[in-house]
C-alpha cells in the first residue's frame, strides 16, 4: 500500500518535473545561457589569468576557489562528524566502539602481503602524479588524495594499522587532517594581504608561473588532507580490525 | 498645555523598583514592609504633586523610548488618567497597610508583596499610557502579574481559578491587540492625546466590528456580562488581592480602557453615528440588573461582593455609553465611588474572616456586636451602594440619571431605581443579621479586628462619606472628573 501510494505520488510529482525539463534550453546547444554567459570567459582567458591549462582546475581552485575552500571544510566536517558518532561513547560502549574486539586479525596470505608491498611505491607515485598534474590534465588534489587514501586503506587491511599509521605520525595527525582547509586559509590570507582579496592570485602576466605554483600548493594541501581524512574515517569505522 | 516631566513615569517606576527591592531584600520582614510602605507613600506623593498642575490644565508627558518606528512607550498624565491614578495610588497605600496585617500567617510573602507592587505599577502605567500600545502593554502585564496573586493559595481550587482567570483575560487581551492593530492601520496613530483618532471615513461596518473587538477585549476585565465568569472564581485569592485588584486595579483597568476607547480612540462625536454604542448601553444596563440578581443568591460573602462588582462596574460603562457630559461625569466619578465603597466591603469581609473565620453570610448573625467598628464601616459602604443620599453611590446615580435624561433615554433612570432596590435587597439583610439578629443564648463579646485591619477599613469608610457629602475627598477633587469631561466633549 505504502509502495503503491509512493509510486503514484512520485509519478504525479514527476509530471511537472518532466514538463519543466522539456522547457529547458536544448541539451548540448552551444547557444544556451549556460554556455554563453560566464563559461566563454573561463575558456578563453582561464589558462592565462588563472594559471592552469585545465580550465576545470581554474574554476575549482581559482575562479570559484572559495567553493572548494568550503568543500574541503565539508570533508573535514565529515571527519569530525564521524569522530563525534564513533569515538568512545559511554561506559559499556567502549568495547564495541573503539577497542579492538577479542578476535585476532585474520592471517593475511604472504602473497597478498608481498603484492601490496610491491605495489605500494607505484601507487604512491601515481597519487603524487595525479596531484601534481591536476592543472594540466584530469586529476588534482581530491583525486590524488583519494588514491593515496586508498593506498593507506590497503596497507591497513593487509599490513595492519601500525604500518599504515607510520605515514601519519600521531603528533602532526591533527594538522595533516586539517591540511586542506589550512592551505586554503594560508593561500587566501596571503592573497588578502598581498593583493587585497581573499584567495587572490598574482595578476601580472609575468607571474604566470607563480599562479601555477600556488595552484600546485593548494593541490598538495588538498591531497594530503584528503588522504589523511579518508584513512582516518576508515580507521574510525573499525576498518583496522 | 503639555509639559515634559518625569513624574508620569516616576510613579510606575517607584512601584517597579519596589518590586525589585522586595524580591531582593524581602526575606526580612522589616525591609519588606519598609519598601512596600515607603514606595506606596512615595508614589502617592508623586501623583499628588501633579494634581495642582492637572487641575490648571497642564498635561505632563514623558516619552521614554520607541518600541517601533512611530509608536513609543509614552506616558501622559491627563485629567482622566490622573483621576484613575489618584484613586489607585491612594488605595495602594491603604491596602498595603491592610495587607501587612492580613498576610501575617500566610506563606510566600515575598512573592505576594513583590507582585502586589508590580500590579500597582502596571495600573499606574495604564492610567498614564500615552497611546493604545503602551496601554496594551501594561494591560497584559497586569494580567500576567496578577496570576501569582490569584493562585497564591496554590490549592487545586486556586489553580483552577487561575486558569480560568488567565483564559478569560488573555483572550480579552488578544482582542485588544487585534483592535489596536486595526486601529493603527485605520488611523495611522495610536495616541490617546486627542478626543478621537478614528474617523467616519473608515466606514461604519469596520468601525463597528473594531468597536466590538475592543469592547470585548476591555470588557473581559470590566466584567461585562457574559464576560464576567472569571471574577467570582478569582475570589479565592487572599482578601487584599481581591480588594485591590478585583475591586480596583484589574476591573478598573478594563473599565478605564473602555473609557479610553470611547473617549480617546473613537470620540463622542464619531460614536454618535454608530448604533453599536446603544447596544453597549443596553448590555451595561442588563449587566447592572443581572449582576445584582445573581448577587442576591450568593451566600459566600466574597462571592456576593464579586457579583456586586460585576453590577457596579457597568455603571461606569453605562455612563460612558450615554455619550452625554453628565453620563461621563458619572462614569468617571464612579471609578472612585465604587472603588472606595467596594474596598471597604472587602476589608470588612477579610477582617471577619481573619478574626472569626467566617466566610458565609448566614454565619454573620450578631457580628455587629462583636466587631462594631468593622460593621459600622460595612453599613456605610452598603448605604452607599444602595444609593442613599449623602453617600458616595448617590452621586453616581444622580449624575447617571441626569445623563440618561440628557440623552433622552429616560428608561435608564428606571434601571437606576431598580438597581437601587436590588442593592438594598442584598446589602440590607446583612445589616439586619449583623445588628439585629443576635443568636439567642450566646454571649457576644467585643472582639474587634486587629488595628492594622481596622484602621484601613475605617479610613475607607470615611472616604465614602466624604465622597458623598462633598463629592470630593482631600486630594481627589470632583473637578478633576469634570476637567476630563470638558476635554472629552471639547467644552
Amino acid at each position: 500500500m505504502k509502495r503503491a501510494l509512493t509510486a503514484a505520488f512520485l509519478v504525479l510529482v514527476s509530471l511537472p518535473l518532466l514538463y519543466a525539463m522539456s522547457q529547458l534550453p536544448q541539451h548540448g546547444s552551444a547557444t544556451s545561457p549556460a554556455y554563453t554567459h560566464i563559461a566563454p570567459r573561463y575558456l578563453e582567458r582561464g589558462p592565462e589569468e588563472a594559471g592552469a591549462e585545465n580550465v576545470v582546475t581554474d574554476v575549482i581552485l581559482n575562479y570559484r576557489g572559495f567553493d572548494t575552500n568550503g568543500e574541503v571544510t565539508v570533508i573535514f566536517t565529515s571527519l569530525a562528524a564521524v569522530f563525534a558518532v564513533l569515538l568512545a561513547g559511554r561506559e559499556g560502549d567502549e568495547r564495541s566502539a573503539s577497542e579492538p574486539r577479542a578476535r585476532t586479525t585474520p592471517e593475511v596470505s604472504p602473497v597478498a602481503s608481498f603484492v601490496v608491498r610491491l605495489l605500494s611505491p607505484f601507487v604512491a607515485i601515481f597519487a603524487v602524479y595525479v596531484v601534481m598534474n591536476g592543472h594540466i590534465s584530469p586529476g588534482g588534489g581530491f583525486q590524488g588524495g583519494t588514491v593515496f587514501g586508498a593506498l593507506l586503506i590497503l596497507a591497513t587491511v593487509v599490513l595492519g594499522k601500525a604500518t599504515a599509521e607510520k605515514l601519519q605520525p600521531a603528533r602532526i595527525r591533527g594538522l595533516l587532517q586539517a591540511a586542506a582547509p589550512l592551505t586554503f586559509i594560508a593561500v587566501g590570507v596571503a592573497g588578502l594581504i598581498m593583493f587585497g582579496d581573499y584567495l587572490a592570485f598574482p595578476k601580472a602576466a609575468a607571474l604566470a608561473w607563480v599562479r601555477t605554483l600556488w595552484l600546485i600548493v593548494i593541490e598538495i594541501g588538498i591531497g594530503v588532507g584528503g588522504a589523511s581524512i579518508i584513512s582516518a574515517i576508515f580507521w574510525q569505522m573499525g576498518g583496522d580490525r | 498645555m503639555e509639559v515634559t516631566d518625569i513624574r508620569p513615569i516616576l510613579a510606575p517606576a517607584i512601584s517597579f523598583a519596589c518590586t525589585g527591592l522586595v524580591f531582593l531584600m524581602g526575606r526580612s520582614t522589616f525591609w519588606r514592609r519598609f519598601w512596600s510602605l515607603g514606595a506606596a507613600t512615595a508614589k502617592l506623593v508623586v501623583v499628588m504633586s501633579m494634581l495642582p498642575g492637572t487641575l490648571k490644565g497642564t498635561v505632563y508627558v514623558f516619552k521614554l523610548l520607541d518600541f517601533t518606528p512611530g509608536i513609543g512607550l509614552g506616558f501622559r498624565a491627563d485629567a482622566l488618567g490622573m483621576f484613575f491614578a489618584v484613586v489607585s495610588s491612594t488605595l495602594w497605600l491603604i491596602t498595603t497597610i491592610y495587607a501587612i496585617g492580613y498576610m501575617k500567617p500566610e506563606h510566600a510573602k515575598v512573592r505576594f508583596f513583590g507582585f502586589f507592587a508590580l500590579c500597582v505599577s502596571t495600573t499606574i502605567g495604564i492610567a498614564f499610557a500615552e497611546n493604545l500600545l503602551t496601554l496594551f502593554l501594561f494591560y497584559e502585564t497586569l494580567t500576567i502579574c496578577t496570576y501569582p496573586l490569584v493562585i497564591h493559595e496554590e490549592t487545586p481550587e486556586a489553580m483552577k481559578a487561575g486558569r480560568k482567570y488567565l483564559t478569560y483575560t488573555l483572550i480579552g487581551g488578544a482582542f485588544v491587540l487585534l483592535g489596536s492593530i486595526v486601529t493603527y492601520q485605520m488611523a495611522g496613530t495610536l495616541t490617546l492625546s486627542k478626543p478621537g483618532i478614528l474617523s467616519l471615513s473608515s466606514g461604519v461596518g469596520p468601525l463597528t466590528w473594531l468597536f466590538i473587538a475592543l469592547v470585548a477585549g476591555f470588557g473581559v476585565k470590566a466584567a461585562i456580562m457574559p464576560l464576567h465568569g472569571w471574577l467570582p472564581s478569582a475570589m479565592v485569592a487572599p482578601t487584599p488581592v481581591s480588594a485591590l485588584l478585583h475591586a480596583v486595579a484589574v476591573v478598573k483597568a478594563g473599565a478605564f480602557g473602555l473609557l479610553r476607547v470611547i473617549y480617546n480612540v473613537y470620540g463622542v462625536e464619531l460614536l454618535k453615528n454608530l448604533p453599536v454604542i446603544n447596544w453597549l448601553a443596553y448590555l451595561a444596563a442588563f449587566t447592572i440588573l443581572a449582576g445584582s440578581f445573581i448577587a442576591i443568591y450568593q451566600d459566600n460573602f466574597k462571592r456576593r461582593l464579586a457579583y456586586s462588582t460585576v453590577s457596579q462596574l457597568s455603571y461606569i460603562i453605562l455612563g460612558a455609553a450615554l455619550l452625554t457630559p453628565y453620563g461621563a461625569t458619572a462614569a468617571i466619578a464612579h471609578i472612585a465611588n465604587q472603588a472606595f465603597a467596594k474596598i471597604t466591603m472587602f476589608f470588612v469581609a477579610g477582617s471577619i474572616q481573619r478574626t472569626t473565620g467566617k466566610t458565609q453570610i448566614h454565619e454573620l448573625a450578631g457580628i455587629g456586636y462583636r466587631m462594631p467598628f468593622t460593621m459600622a464601616a460595612y453599613t456605610v459602604a452598603a448605604l452607599s451602594f444602595i444609593g442613599v443620599p449623602l453617600f458616595a453611590g448617590f452621586v453616581t446615580k444622580w449624575y447617571l440619571s441626569l445623563g440618561a435624561l440628557q440623552s433622552g433615554q429616560w428608561w435608564f433612570v428606571l434601571v437606576m431605581v431598580a438597581s437601587s432596590l436590588l442593592n438594598a435587597a442584598y446589602w440590607l439583610p446583612i445589616i439586619y443579621l449583623a445588628w439585629f439578629k443576635a443568636p439567642p443564648g450566646t454571649r457576644l463579646e467585643l472582639h474587634e479586628a486587629s488595628p492594622t485591619l481596622l484602621l484601613p477599613t475605617l479610613l475607607c469608610a470615611v472616604y465614602v462619606i466624604l465622597l458623598g457629602l462633598t463629592t470630593q475627598v482631600p486630594g481627589l477633587p470632583f473637578s478633576l472628573a469634570q476637567a476630563a469631561v470638558k476635554f472629552v466633549f471639547g467644552m
Binding site: A20, Y63, R64 | I181
Partner: protein, 494 residues
C-alpha cells in the same frame, strides 16, 4: 580593516578556529573550550564591525580572488546578513554554556570534536548568510547540516543516533532539492551569482523557473521545519545536548528561512513569476504550523520536547510573515528570525541548566525547582512570556508587526489566527511556569539543588535580558531592517 576583509574574516576566522581545534585543543579537548571561546569572541568583534558598517553605508560586497561579479564568488553583506550578529552572540553563549555542561553530559573522548563541530556549524551559518553566490550557499548549507547531524548524535544515546539519522535523511533530501534547483537556475541563466541570476532570470522560461522556485522553497522549508515537513525536528532538537538544541532551534532552522529570503530576493527582482500563489500557500502553511506546533506541544511532558514543538509554531509565524508579502509582515518576520533565536536560546539553555542541576527533564519532576534555582527559572519565565508574545518582550513586537502585516496585506483573518495561536502557545508555557513555582515538588530533594554554575547562568541571564531589551528597544532592529525590506518589495513594484 576594509569592509571586504572583515567580510572574509567572519568566515575564515571561525573556520581556522574550527580546523585548529583538534590541534590546539589537546588530547582530550582540555583546552578546546578556551580556544573555541577565544575564536568566537574574535568572530563576534568582526560581526559587530560588519553590522556597524552596513548600518552606516548600506550593503557591500567582497569579491573573492579579485574576480568581479559574476565571474567569481561574491560575498554580499546586506541588512539580512546582519543575522551574523545573532549567530555569533548565540554561538559564543552556547560555547560558554557548554564548559560544564558538555563535560558532564558528553562522552569525554568526544569533547574536542564537540567544539570543533560547534565552530564548524557556526562557520557554515555565517557563510550561509553572507554569501552572494547560490552554489556557495549550498556548500555552506552542507557544512552546517553535516555538523548539525553529528551534533545531534554526539551524546551517544541510542535515541540520539536514530534522531540524527532521521534528520540526516530529510536534510540530505532537502539539500538535493536545493541543488537540483540551482542546476535549473544555472541552466536558465548560466550564472550562479544571486544578483546576476535575478537580473538574467527576467524573461526566461516560466515553467522551469517555477519548478526551481518550488524546489528551493520545499528544500528550505524542510530545513526550517515548516509543517508538514517538520517530522525530523522534535526528536532531534529535544535529544541533542542543550547548547546544541539552542543553536539548532535558534539558528539552524532559521537558515532555511534566510535562504527563503534569498530566494525572494532573486524572484522578486526577476519579476518572472507571480509569487502570490506561493505566498498564499506559505501563509496557510504558516498558520497551520502555528496551530499544529502548539497543539502537539500541549501533550509533551519533556520540557525540551515542548520547546522543540514550539519552534515549529514560531517558524509558522515567520513563514506567515514572509508569505504576507507586505512591508510590516516581512519586517516582523525578519526581526522574529533574530528575536526567536534569542528567545529559544534562553529557553533551551535554561532548560539545559535545569537538567544539568537536577537530572530531571519532565515538567512534573521539575516541580518546585523555582525555589532552588530562582535565577534560571526567572530567565526561563521571561523567555516563556516572550515567546508567547506578551509585551514588553521581544516576541511581542514581532507578533504586532506580523499581525499588522496581515491587516496591511488585506488578510486580517491571519492576524486573528496569529494572535489566537499565540494564546494556544500560552497554554503549555503556563504549565511550565506552574510546575516551577506553584506546585508542590514530587521529588523533595529538588529543593536542595543549587543554582547553576556561573558559566551556565550568565549566558541564560544575558539572553533573558536581551529578550526584554529587544522588546523595549525593538525600534533598533526594526528600523535597521526596514530599508532592506523596502528594497525587496520595491523591486516587486508595490
Amino acid at each position: 580593516m576594509t569592509p571586504s576583509s572583515l567580510l572574509v574574516g567572519i568566515i575564515v576566522v571561525p573556520l581556522a578556529g574550527a580546523v585548529l581545534t583538534p590541534v590546539i585543543g589537546g588530547k582530550a579537548g582540555k583546552h578546546a573550550w578556551t580556544w573555541a571561546t577565544t575564536v568566537m569572541v574574535a568572530t563576534s568583534v568582526i560581526a559587530a564591525a560588519l553590522v556597524n558598517q552596513v548600518a552606516r553605508t548600506g550593503p557591500f560586497s567582497a569579491y573573492l580572488g579579485g574576480w568581479e561579479r559574476p565571474y567569481g564568488i561574491e560575498l554580499r553583506f546586506d541588512e539580512f546578513s546582519a543575522s551574523v550578529a545573532v549567530i555569533c552572540l548565540l554561538g559564543l553563549l552556547a560555547i560558554v554554556f557548554s564548559q560544564k555542561y558538555a563535560a558532564k553530559e558528553l562522552p569525554p573522548a568526544r569533547l574536542g570534536t564537540y567544539y570543533t563541530l560547534l565552530l564548524l556549524n557556526l562557520t557554515g551559518m555565517l557563510g550561509f548568510v553572507v554569501t552572494g553566490d547560490l552554489f556557495n550557499l549550498f556548500v555552506f548549507m552542507e557544512i552546517l547540516s553535516l555538523s548539525g547531524y553529528a551534533l545531534v548524535a554526539i551524546s551517544g544515546e541510542r535515541t540520539a543516533e536514530m534522531a540524527a539519522f532521521k534528520y540526516l535523511v530529510m536534510g540530505a533530501v532537502s539539500s538535493l532539492l536545493v541543488l537540483f534547483a540551482i542546476g535549473l537556475l544555472y541552466a536558465l541563466t548560466g550564472s550562479l551569482n544571486m544578483a546576476d541570476i535575478s537580473d538574467r532570470l527576467t524573461g526566461s522560461a516560466e515553467v522551469p523557473a517555477m519548478l526551481a522556485l518550488a524546489l528551493l522553497t520545499t528544500g528550505f522549508m524542510v530545513k526550517a521545519a515548516l509543517f508538514p515537513l517538520h517530522v525530523w525536528l522534535p526528536d532531534a532538537h529535544a535529544i541533542a545536548p542543550s547548547p546544541v538544541s539552542a543553536i539548532l532551534s535558534g539558528l539552524v532552522v532559521k537558515t532555511g528561512l534566510l535562504g527563503m529570503i534569498r530566494v525572494y530576493q532573486i524572484y522578486y527582482g526577476a519579476k518572472v513569476l507571480d509569487l502570490s500563489s506561493l505566498n498564499t500557500v506559505l501563509v496557510w502553511l504558516g498558520a497551520i504550523s502555528i496551530v499544529m506546533g502548539a497543539f502537539f506541544a500541549i501533550f509533551q511532558e519533556d520540557i525540551k520536547m515542548m520547546l522543540a514543538y514550539s519552534t515549529i509554531s514560531n517558524i509558522g509565524y515567520i513563514v506567515m510573515g514572509l508569505g504576507l508579502a507586505s512591508q510590516y509582515g516581512i519586517i516582523g518576520a525578519t526581526v522574529h528570525i533574530f528575536n526567536h533565536a534569542l528567545i529559544k536560546a534562553t529557553l533551551f539553555l535554561g532548560a539545559g541548566a535545569l537538567i544539568y542541576q537536577t537530572g530531571y527533564r519532565n515538567l512534573s519532576d521539575l516541580r518546585g525547582v523555582g525555589r532552588s534555582m530562582p535565577f534560571t527559572t526567572a530567565a526561563i519565565s521571561v523567555g516563556a512570556i516572550s515567546i508567547v508574545g506578551m509585551p514588553p518582550t521581544a516576541g511581542f513586537l514581532c507578533k504586532w508587526y506580523i499581525a499588522l502585516g496581515a491587516v496591511q496585506a488585506g488578510h486580517p483573518v491571519f492576524g486573528v489566527a496569529l494572535v489566537f495561536g499565540a494564546l494556544f502557545i500560552f497554554v503549555y508555557y503556563i504549565r511550565m511556569v506552574n510546575s516551577f513555582y506553584f506546585q508542590a515538588p514530587i521529588h523533595p530533594e529538588i529543593l536542595e539543588v543549587k543554582e547553576a554554575p556561573l558559566t551556565m547562568l550568565a549566558p541564560v541571564l544575558i539572553l533573558a535580558a536581551l529578550c526584554l531589551a529587544m522588546g523595549l528597544l525593538g525600534r533598533i532592529p526594526l528600523s535597521f531592517i526596514e530599508p532592506a525590506v523596502t528594497r525587496l518589495l520595491g523591486t516587486l513594484g508595490g
